[in-house]
């Protein structure tokens, strides 16, 4: 099993550009999450989903959008990139609300 796969691994964006960070899991997990980790900081929850067609905001949702059309995919959209969105982004998934999460390797995004 590949587990949780994130693409791309690295990206440099210009201010105002848009992009989609991809996240796919092959474990048939219902729950999926997006986090950002700023240098020296912890993981901040951006958005999460408890199943296909259901998404909800986390701690820091502003400037991001998500969709969950399938169980496997949970893309994160940045519409107007800002320098404050420079971060490492992690996607995670888990079977249900009481199990451990599996994380992808992360996407390092720089907005200049």
């Amino acid at each position: 099993n590949a587990g949780v796969t994130q693409t791309p691994k690295f990206r440099i964006l210009k201010i105002g550009q848009s992009m989609t960070l991809q996240c796919t899991q092959d474990m048939n997990h219902n729950y999926m999450y997006w986090y950002r980790q700023d240098p020296g900081m912890g993981l901040k929850l951006i958005y999460y989903s408890v199943g296909a067609g259901i998404t909800d905001k986390g701690e820091v949702p502003n400037g991001y959008n998500v969709s969950r059309s399938t169980t496997e995919d949970f893309p994160l959209r940045l519409e107007l990139a800002a320098p404050s969105q420079t971060s490492v982004y992690f996607c995670a998934s888990r079977t249900g609300g009481d199990t451990e999460a599996f994380f992808g390797q992360g996407t390092r995004l720089t907005v200049v």
Binding site: Y33, M41, L45, D98
Partner: protein
């Protein structure tokens, strides 16, 4: 409002000694907590968990203690090994909130 707190950004211990990483939480009556370990350029990986109905959970060199009255949990690693050098996060299960992490360095 940070509901899961790790107040020590870093910890350095000698190989073979005990490492103790701490975590405090608010607003949880019944839940369970998880510890994750993160190496540079990798995603976090699950290490150990503890349910709020227990005081202790042990897995090899790793033990997590939960003090419900103090709303405090701690991760003990004994003996510590250089390969344990990583960032450790505690997380609350019900809302998947993470602490800021503690960077553990184990010196040979």
């Amino acid at each position: 409002d940070q509901q899961v707190k790790q107040n020590s950004p870093s910890l350095s211990v000698q190989e073979g000694r005990i490492s103790i990483l701490n975590c405090d939480y608010t607003n949880s009556m019944f839940d369970y907590f998880l510890w994750y370990k993160k190496y540079p350029a990798e995603g976090p990986t699950f290490l150990i968990s503890i349910s709020s109905i227990k005081d202790k959970n042990e897995d090899g060199r790793f033990t997590v203690f939960l003090n419900k009255s103090a709303k405090h949990l701690s991760l003990h690693i004994v003996p510590s090994q250089p390969g344990d050098s990583a960032v450790y996060f505690c997380a609350r299960n019900n809302d998947m909130r993470f602490g800021a992490g503690t960077r553990l360095t184990v010196k040979p």
